[in-house]
């Protein structure tokens, strides 16, 4: 224990010394930035167009300061003026500024006049950090190790138990044999047990019992057959493999993207709508790769998220290297999960916009679903139950004012359910 404390102590002393050294050195060299602050600034201000290791709308920025200094002889001064107002720099006829501008399709970089010198050096410090090694997939090693440990202990216990029972059985046999020998020796006659009719024969002979059993069996099988037949055509839990592995867990769960951001037509239409690919590209234009941690998570599901994003790029015809659309598209053939029969009319906007229901009410914990599946049975009974139990959201809706007042008086209730509003009438869903 003490040893550990000593080690901690030494390391903190060392760190302190290092920091002191750095503080002194800053006065000599240029201002030194804080990479942590730089990271948050980078993500807030630059990440829409820049990545560290990959070209996007703008160039990759890893070690940008060093590279500029070494290759072009441009210093921090130049960088500052470029970041604060690149357009002015281009206008001034600066050679390298114009070169970059032309290289990136003459896309003007936003001016950031509000970034202080310290901010810029923080950002540059962040960009100057060495590229982290991709984390070794730790899951497999640790997971397997854990599992083997568990299973060995289990088998040891089981083995011990088996041995114990074996010994017991052997002991019993030995005791039995010894007793028999005693009996033989003393001349005690062990009475022969009378041969009884076997139980199954008795059962067969008892016709009443047979009748009762067969009735019970018939009823039981009827129950299971009915249960089986009733679930025919109900695809609850239907979880087909989709052409692109799309994780609702990441999008709706981790990133907390509102369902209706992508499924926007649910607000106004009967269909929730499978988002068109241009909606994906609103974000994925700049998210070509996922974070290493996310990538590691994907390995649990046996999926390479980066490859899936590439599938999207291919479908939408996005050339990530040149940052432009090729026009060569191939629409994605998603497999539809929620299939209502044609004779049932369902309108999303009625439930989402008017009733204000959460999507999860019917679709389940979508934010936890790695692969989307059908949560609800989508049977008529299921619909009807909800209509019986759910109150109509009438507040602040002028449409309901009059009818709610009259109907609630008629039924003598405070709050009307959808059923009382007429939500159980056949023709409301079947036409």
């Amino acid at each position: 224990m003490k040893h550990v404390i000593y080690r901690n102590l030494t390391s903190s002393i060392l760190r302190l010394g290092f920091i002191l050294l750095l503080t002194f050195s800053t006065t000599v060299l240029a201002q030194e930035g804080d990479p942590a602050n730089g990271k948050s600034l980078f993500n807030a201000q630059c990440a829409a167009c820049h990545k560290l290791d990959k070209k996007m709308t703008g160039p990759a920025l890893r070690n940008v300061e060093a590279r500029l200094y070494e290759d072009e002889g441009l210093d921090r001064e130049w960088l500052n003026s470029w970041i604060r107002n690149s357009a002015a720099l281009i206008k001034s006829g600066d050679a390298y500024a114009n070169k970059i501008w032309n290289e990136y399709n003459q896309t003007a970089m936003n001016a950031f006049p509000l970034l202080s010198d310290q901010d810029i050096s923080d950002i540059l410090a962040y960009t100057a950090q060495p590229k982290p090694e991709p984390p070794k997939p730790p899951v497999l090693v640790s997971g397997e190790g854990g599992q083997t440990g568990d299973s060995t202990s289990n088998s040891i216990i089981l083995g011990a138990l088996a041995l114990l029972f074996g010994l017991l059985a052997m002991a019993l046999v030995l005791v039995n044999r010894t007793l028999k020998r005693f009996a033989d020796a003393k001349g005690v006659q062990v009475p022969e047990t009378e041969k009884r009719t076997p139980i199954w024969k008795a059962f067969v002979q008892n016709q009443f019992l047979v009748l009762v059993t067969s009735i019970v069996l018939l009823l039981a099988s009827g129950y299971f057959v009915y249960g089986y037949l009733m679930q025919v055509g109900i695809d609850q839990g239907y979880e087909p493999v989709q052409p692109i592995h799309y994780s609702h867990r990441i999008h709706a769960g981790d990133n907390k993207i509102d369902c209706k951001y992508c499924h926007s037509s649910a607000r106004v239409s009967k269909h929730s709508g499978i988002p068109s690919l241009n909606v994906c590209m609103n974000c994925h234009k700049s998210i070509g790769e996922v974070a290493p941690e996310t990538l590691a998570e994907g390995q649990e599901y046996g999926v390479d998220y980066n490859a899936e994003i590439q599938k999207l790029y291919k479908a939408v015809g996005w050339d990530a290297d040149n940052q432009k659309y090729t026009g060569d598209t191939s629409p994605v053939k998603w497999i539809r999960i929620h299939n209502l029969p044609d004779f049932a009319y369902f309108n999303h906007s009625q439930h989402v916009s008017v009733a204000g229901l959460e999507c999860q009410t019917c679709h389940g914990p979508v934010e936890e679903m790695e692969i989307m599946y059908q949560h609800a049975p989508l049977t008529m009974g299921w619909c009807i139950n909800c209509h019986r139990e759910t109150n109509v959201k009438v507040k602040d809706n002028a449409y309901y004012t009059k009818i709610h007042e009259q109907l609630s008086k008629k039924y003598g209730v405070e709050q009307l359910t959808a059923a009382q509003m007429g939500g159980l009438e056949c023709g409301k869903c079947h036409y």
Binding site: G233, V332, Q406, C426, H430
Partner: protein, 1027 residues
């Protein structure tokens, strides 16, 4: 001890050597049963190795396999857009204003599109001109999804590219330099097209543009041109006319382009005790005649004299000639009414004669009729008969180098088609056509033309009344419209849309916004017309002023039978013959679908030994005749005996008998165009009976009302104005404890009424005065509700699927009130046997009423109580619901329905080769409304009060958080009704129009005494009859 008694089965057994007995001991029958014969071809049976056991195995296996397969749902794929157009939201309809201008029908319409597919035509309420889509316009959407359309430009039989087409045709046009280039086109009435043709003429020089209407109004145009110096048609606004006299003009039909019915209906509803008075002289029973207050059957030759006499009686000029006494009396009466009406009177005529049309113009001027308008003229008919005839002659003489045809089918519609065919061989020809039709197939090049829903265009329907046509879908096929090719021919790089925009900005809009005009679809210019009637080089016909009537009277001579050629409400000129909706649309007058026929009066039919009879299955059969005009014979024309048909005259409609570019099922009827000689609708004709009987598909077996005043209530304006409601619209009464009690009283009801005062309560009002029977609602209902087409033989078995039908009843006496009187006076068995029998026959000149009947949505519905599975139930909002998935098809409901509005699906009508109509091909199914179930075999269906539309209206209001405004609730039929006959709405909204109409004195329910408490109500028909 057993007996040795022997029983003999037959005498044959007494004969010991009988071979039969021996055989019978082995076999059940003496001779081998000819199983092969009825099981099928003997050879195939023998060659087949399938034994009976095998067969059973197969059956067992396939049943098991099918039931196992049914346990697994199919994999459904959903393919979203890559880039979703921002105006498209799946599941939400978009509407676009556009214009149909196919040369026969011109109307400003709204097109409903879903997911980019046009699915329905609706009325454009912003349009001041022709904003009311008739049955054909409503059905025209199906033409877009016609699977037999030409899918790309063709040279002969080979498909070529547009590039090659333009190159080749340019060569043809420049080769024709020493001859004429002729455009033979439909009426465009398009300012931009006229300008383009002008530019083309400038470039090529030797260009002639001939407008051709298959059904000509050339004489009316000639007469107008002679009198007013402008080749156009006078406009009539019937809402300004209190006395209308029509001599042979079917102005509620297609007369002079049609579109007059809304204004007419406007004055037919009694308002402060006043309504218009309409006198009709005609030979065929037309829609207009059926709506008239007084209808006089006059054969065509006498119509001429009648019109001349009418002129003389009104103006005082003398005209020679003598009319039969009773006709003369009627004409005098009409003249005196006209004179009394003065400027509130109007005269129209459909006689195809320059003199007749001149007389009409003069008469209206003499009356200084308010309804008569010679400044805002109609431009939708520009066909010039003489120019067409000249063209045919020139073609035969080899003077035409290149012929470009657009929107016309002369090989089918020209009476002298063989001359045209001869001329066609001597010229290079290009046809812009949607079909490989009778003409296109003979042309050197077929330019695949787009449907109007895929095209740009503009129309000047009336002077200053413009309309724009815009595409509502990307072209389904590799098509190009005529104007685009014209631009290519003139080496003009702009596309037609920009061209129209430039033309409009330059000379029409006068500073107004083009986008607004495009949004509205219509634009009314303050200034006058920009187009002059396009290059028609016909010399003005000289008419001795004032002498027209005399000339007309002199021309009125007749010998023998006369034929009056007409067009049917459903088929028009026949360009939509491949449209199953229109084929199955029952004619408003004859109630017969899938046919045209010779209409003949009962007297003439009896004289010629022609009969109509109903056979055992209820179908109508008719004799056949051969019809000969000037040596041209049309064989095997079926005969339909038409009450009200003038004696000595027969009628035959155009538009049928097409043979090319349509499915075999649609090749119905006979072609009457060969009889339409010299573009004259009236011909002298000889008729000879042919052998055999024709099978009609007529949906109404019984023609007369039999005095049943509880179906149609009718009264005269005089009674309506002077008597109490009880007299002309009494509520039926029943006896309760020997006290007469009205059936509306809850005391005599078997049912407990529900409180329907909360929420919406939908009612539909139908005004029998405003309903002209035009049938637009019938087709609109088809389109909205995915009503299947069942075909002729099923129609004949009364298995039509129309959710909305328009019943037509004739009176058996001179009028319905006399019928009623006769029925009341029947007493005793002898009298009832004979007189009821008599009442089954319609009068020679009967009164006619139309009554649209759909599900009445009874509050006390007889159908609901008898359904064993509760598939039909009532909603709180007054709609009678029908859950198809619950229905097991017992048909009890249909049997218990007093209105006979329920329809049973005897077959699966979609994706079934037995019913090869629009629902049987992928393209045709694109028209289906995605919000309405496509019903399958074995279920009952019926009008739903367009619950999908009412629910949508409610949802829109909920989403916006507001109340529903009056007029927002619509059914397909009420929205399609341009005449204001059908009004739909919520009667619980006391401010609504329908609630007001329900309180009207004329309101009654159909078969009110049954006590069904329907949610559809009618308004008593008031006829402006005079003694």
């Amino acid at each position: 001890m057993s007996t040795n008694k022997k029983y003999w089965k037959s005498v044959e057994e007494l004969n010991e050597n009988s071979s039969i007995v021996e055989t019978l001991q082995q076999n059940e029958f003496v001779e081998a049963i000819p199983t092969d014969e009825f099981l099928g071809d003997k050879e195939t049976l023998e060659s087949s190795s399938t034994s009976r056991r095998d067969f059973l195995k197969y059956v067992g296996f396939s049943t098991a396999a099918a039931s196992l397969a049914a346990c697994e749902g199919p994999v459904v794929k959903s393919i979203p857009y890559v880039v979703q157009p921002k105006e498209i939201v799946p599941g939400v309809a978009n509407y676009y204003a556009t214009t149909i201008a196919n040369g026969y029908d011109f109307a400003s319409v709204l097109v409903k599109t879903r997911e980019g597919r046009p699915i329905k035509i609706e009325n454009n309420k912003l349009a001041k001109t022709n904003g009311h889509a008739n049955a054909r316009v409503n059905a025209s959407i199906l033409g877009l999804y016609d699977s037999l359309r030409v899918q790309g430009p063709m040279k002969g039989d080979a498909t070529i590219s547009w590039g090659a087409f333009v190159k080749d045709t340019k060569q043809i046009l420049s080769d024709a330099a020493d001859k004429d280039i002729v455009f033979l086109t439909q009426t465009f009435a398009s300012p931009s097209t006229s300008k383009l043709v002008g530019e083309f003429t400038e470039k090529y020089g030797n260009v002639r543009h001939v407008s051709y209407d298959a059904v000509s109004e050339s004489t009316a145009l000639d007469a107008f041109q002679a009198k007013y110096g402008k080749r156009a048609l006078a406009n009539y606004d019937f809402s300004k006319a209190m006395t209308i006299v029509s001599v042979g003009a079917d102005f509620l039909g297609d007369w002079q382009g049609g579109g007059f019915d809304a204004a007419y209906a406007n004055k037919r509803i009694p308002d402060n005790g006043k309504m218009s008075r309409h006198i009709q002289f005609e030979s065929n029973m037309s829609l207009t005649g059926a709506n008239a207050d007084k209808r006089v059957p006059v054969k065509p030759s006498e119509q001429r004299l009648a019109l001349a006499k009418l002129y003389s009686y009104v103006t005082g000029n003398s005209v020679s000639g003598n009319l039969p006494e009773n006709l003369d009396k009627a004409v005098r009466a009409a003249a005196s009414e006209l004179k009394k009406a003065g400027s509130n009177g109007v005269v129209v005529s459909g006689i195809q004669d320059v003199n007749a049309q001149t007389v009409v113009l003069e008469l209206n001027e003499a009356l200084s009729s308010k309804a008569f308008d010679t400044t805002t003229t109609i431009h939708t008919k520009q066909g010039n008969d003489k120019a067409v005839m000249q063209l045919v002659a020139d073609m035969k003489a080899g003077k035409v180098g290149a012929l470009v045809m657009v929107g016309v089918n002369p090989m089918y519609t020209l009476p002298n088609a063989s001359d045209f065919a001869e001329g066609l061989k001597k010229t290079k020809s290009i046809a812009f056509s949607m079909k490989q039709d009778e003409t296109a197939i003979h042309c050197d090049y077929i330019a695949a033309a787009p449907h109007y829903l895929e095209s740009w265009g503009d129309v000047e329907m009336k002077t200053g009344h413009y309309a724009l046509m815009q595409p509502t879908i990307r072209p389904l096929f590799d098509t190009k419209q005529f104007q685009e090719v014209l631009l290519a021919w003139t080496d003009n790089g702009t596309d037609y849309n920009d061209y129209i925009k430039a033309t409009w900005t330059e000379s029409i809009l006068n500073g107004a916004s083009y986008n607004q005009a495009l949004h509205d679809g219509v634009f009314v210019a303050a200034s006058t017309s920009t187009i002059e009637a396009s290059t028609t080089d016909s010399e003005a016909v000289e008419i001795p002023n004032g002498n027209a009537a005399r000339a007309l009277a002199a021309s009125a001579k007749s010998s023998g039978m006369e034929l009056a050629i007409y067009t049917k409400t459903g088929m028009g000129d026949g360009q939509q013959a491949n449209n199953p909706w229109l084929q199955e649309f029952p004619d408003p007058i004859t109630r017969t679908s899938w046919d045209n026929y010779l209409t003949i009066s009962k007297v003439d039919a009896d004289a010629a030994g022609l009969i109509n009879e109903n056979v055992a299955n209820g179908g109508l059969n008719g004799s056949k005749v051969d019809v000969t005009v000037n040596g041209v014979t049309v064989k095997d024309v079926p005969v339909l005996i038409q009450p009200g048909q003038a004696k000595g005259a027969v009628g035959l409609s155009l538009g049928y008998g097409r043979t090319l570019g349509l499915k075999p099922e649609m090749q119905t009827g006979v072609n009457a165009y060969p009889l339409y000689q010299n573009f004259n609708a009236v011909q002298e004709v000889s008729i000879s009976k042919a052998s055999g009987m024709h099978e009609f598909a007529c949906v109404q077996l019984h023609n007369t009302l039999m005095g049943r005043g509880d179906i149609i209530k009718e009264t005269t304006l005089e009674v309506f104005n002077t008597k109490d409601k009880k007299y002309w619209n009494a509520i039926p009464e029943v006896s309760l404890n020997h006290i007469e009690t009205p059936v509306t009283s809850p005391d005599v009801d078997l049912w407990d009424s529900f409180d329907r005062s909360i929420g919406h309560h939908f009612n539909l009002s139908i005004d029998l005065n405003a309903c002209t029977g035009c049938g637009a609602c019938v087709i609109a209902c088809h389109a909205e509700n995915n009503v299947p087409v069942v075909g002729k033989s099923e129609m004949r078995r009364s298995r039509d699927m129309h959710w909305l039908r328009i019943d037509r009843y004739y009176s058996s006496e001179d009028s319905f009130s006399e019928d009623l009187e006769k029925k009341e006076n029947i007493s005793g068995l002898g009298s009832s046997l004979s007189e009821f029998g008599e009442m089954e026959n319609p009068n020679e000149n009967p009164q006619v009423v139309f009554q649209p009947v759909m599900c009445q949505h009874c509050n006390h519905a007889p159908c609901e109580t008898v359904c064993p599975v509760a598939a039909t139930a009532h909603g709180r909002q007054g709609q009678n619901h029908m859950a198809y998935n619950r229905c097991v098809g017992t048909r009890y409901c249909a049997n218990n329905c007093p209105y006979k509005v329920r329809r049973f699906n005897w077959f699966l009508y979609s994706q079934n080769d037995e019913f090869d109509y629009f629902m049987n091909d992928d393209l045709g199914r694109m028209v289906l409304n995605p919000d309405v179930t496509v019903r399958s075999r074995g279920v009952m269906e019926k009008c739903s009060f367009c619950i999908q539309k009412t629910q949508k209206t409610i949802l829109d209001a909920k989403r916006d958080g507001r109340e529903v405004k009056d007029g927002e609730f619509q059914t397909a039929c009420s929205a399609a009704c341009g005449n204001g006959a059908m009004v739909f709405g919520d009667v619980n909204d006391k401010e609504s129009q329908v609630a007001e109409l329900k309180e009207d004195d004329r309101m009654y329910h159909l078969l009110e005494y049954v006590g069904t408490k329907p949610n559809v109500f009618y308004h008593t028909k008031v006829r402006n009859t005079k003694a």
